[in-house]
């Protein structure tokens, strides 16, 4: 990351080799459009290129940091198609005083896609749907409620239980290392 912050194009090349395909997959999953996904990925890499100096080890792995940028920009792109929705702050981050234990930020490095799919299969269909609409669809809780025809409180409950269920399913797969600060 120091090399990237120092303007080393080789470091950017390496970052792309490591995360380019996954970044495109995430952007395409969210936007559903190859051209839009390309723009998102380009924006994300250039954003990382220009803001690498703001990356801090304590806040998580490079992978989580970078793919979160991709996610953020892809959701931004989707929401721009819906002008009635408030756009997120592109620079928003968690407050510095909130130090999140990142043991779990790196969990995905040790879990393959199949394992995560298994964990997702352990939660209910409606919980999984709510999480996917929220995380990959960029829908607000109110929009999810309207889309799925259930009360807002039910959506909130499904998101919480779904995340907790995933965590419970992933913990054994990770050897119980995910402390999460809880």
């Amino acid at each position: 990351m120091d090399r990237l912050a120092g303007g080393d194009l080789g470091a950017l090349d390496l970052l792309y080799e490591q995360y380019g395909a996954m970044a495109f997959s995430i952007a395409y999953r969210i936007t559903g459009d190859r051209s839009a996904a390309e723009d998102v990925v380009q924006d994300a890499f250039l954003g990382a290129w220009r803001n690498a100096g703001r990356y801090a080890d304590a806040r998580g792995s490079v992978r989580t940091w970078f793919l979160s940028i991709v996610h953020h920009r892809a959701i931004d792109a989707v929401r721009r198609r819906r002008p009635t929705v408030e756009l997120p702050d592109p620079e928003a981050t968690l407050p510095d005083t909130l130090t999140l234990p990142d043991a779990w930020g790196d969990v995905a490095l040790r879990l393959d896609r199949e394992a995560v799919q298994v964990a997702l299969s352990r939660i209910s269909d409606v919980q999984r749907e709510a999480i996917e609409l929220a995380y990959f669809g960029g829908l607000t809780q109110t929009e999810i409620a309207a889309r799925t025809g259930v009360p807002l409180g039910t959506v909130k409950g499904r998101l919480r239980l779904g995340l907790q269920g995933m965590r419970a399913a992933l913990l054994p797969l990770d050897g119980g290392r995910g402390g999460g600060g809880g």
Partner: protein, 280 residues
């Protein structure tokens, strides 16, 4: 849990919003309020951290989709252009003349200047990036720095020639950069008819009989010299010749030779890049 109120939210409010907060789908106002509450109230940090810890794993649930091959080239070209623009913005200015304000660093070149259409087209990507550098730098540098302006004009003219060549069907384009990442940059293109156009900037001026020699390196074959050029105080070099196309994946390299007519390259390599066919 003790109930506190910060940023207009109670701890219960924040706990209720926590799942949507970690998934990033609160409204900006809600999200900001949660952040401000958390900044002042540690009570919920552990719960937020637990929920947040699952989120990175969601990336693994995404079905893999291969990106287009040209995307990496486009990103690298845009980053190279950004790097050159940074250097131009940081260039020394004449005493008493303030340096121009750099463009907003966090924005992509396509934003604001609306160059998205250019950058979405592989054939223009590197050329547009180079032209952007020239445009930014031309606007930024003081007119009294005539050598630099002359260099930029020469570079821009060279870019136009590369653009013309790269626009031909089945043309190939290489973005040249110093192996160490810091140093001269440029572009080379050649068409199916064998016409080659090359433009470089930030080269050290040649002296005496020195020439910059361009080489084509195909696989493990010996480098093929295709011609050389000298560079003046504008530090810009342009070059045109004709050579039988060698196909995609050929490396274009530049060396500084003591005299013209070199048969083997004199190390170090000043700049190099790999040629890629341009798809429409």
């Amino acid at each position: 849990m003790a109930e506190h109120t910060f940023a207009g939210l109670t701890c219960s409010d924040v706990a209720e919003l926590a799942p949507a907060f970690v998934l990033g789908n609160l409204t900006p106002a809600e999200s900001d309020a949660v952040r401000r509450h958390l900044a002042d109230c540690p009570e919920l940090h552990a719960e937020i951290a637990e929920l947040n810890s699952v989120v990175p794993a969601l990336f693994e649930a995404v079905e893999p989709v291969a990106p287009p091959a040209a995307l990496k080239d486009r990103i690298m070209a845009a980053a190279a252009a950004d790097l050159a623009a940074r250097r131009a913005a940081a260039a020394p200015t004449v005493t008493g003349v303030p340096a121009p304000a750099p463009t907003r660093p966090a924005e992509s070149p396509r934003r604001g200047l609306d160059l998205g259409a250019l950058f979405r087209r592989p054939v223009w990507a590197a050329v547009a990036a180079a032209a952007l550098v020239a445009a930014i730098a031309l606007g930024a540098w003081n007119v009294q720095l005539s050598n630099q302006v002359a260099g930029l004009q020469a570079y821009r003219n060279g870019v136009v020639k590369v653009l013309d060549t790269a626009a031909q069907p089945e043309a190939q384009l290489a973005v040249l950069a110093a192996p160490e990442g810091q140093g001269p940059t440029g572009l080379a293109a050649w068409g199916a008819d064998g016409n080659v156009a090359l433009v470089m900037r930030d080269l050290e001026p040649t002296t005496g009989t020195e020439v910059y020699e361009a080489w084509l390196i195909a696989g493990t074959a010996a480098p093929i010299p295709i011609g050389g050029f000298q560079v003046g105080t504008d530090r810009t070099g342009t070059f045109g010749t004709n050579h039988v196309p060698l196909g995609a994946g050929v490396v274009v390299a530049l060396t500084l030779e003591p005299t013209e007519g070199a048969k083997t390259p004199t190390l170090p390599i000043i700049a190099l890049g790999t040629a890629h066919a341009q798809s429409s």
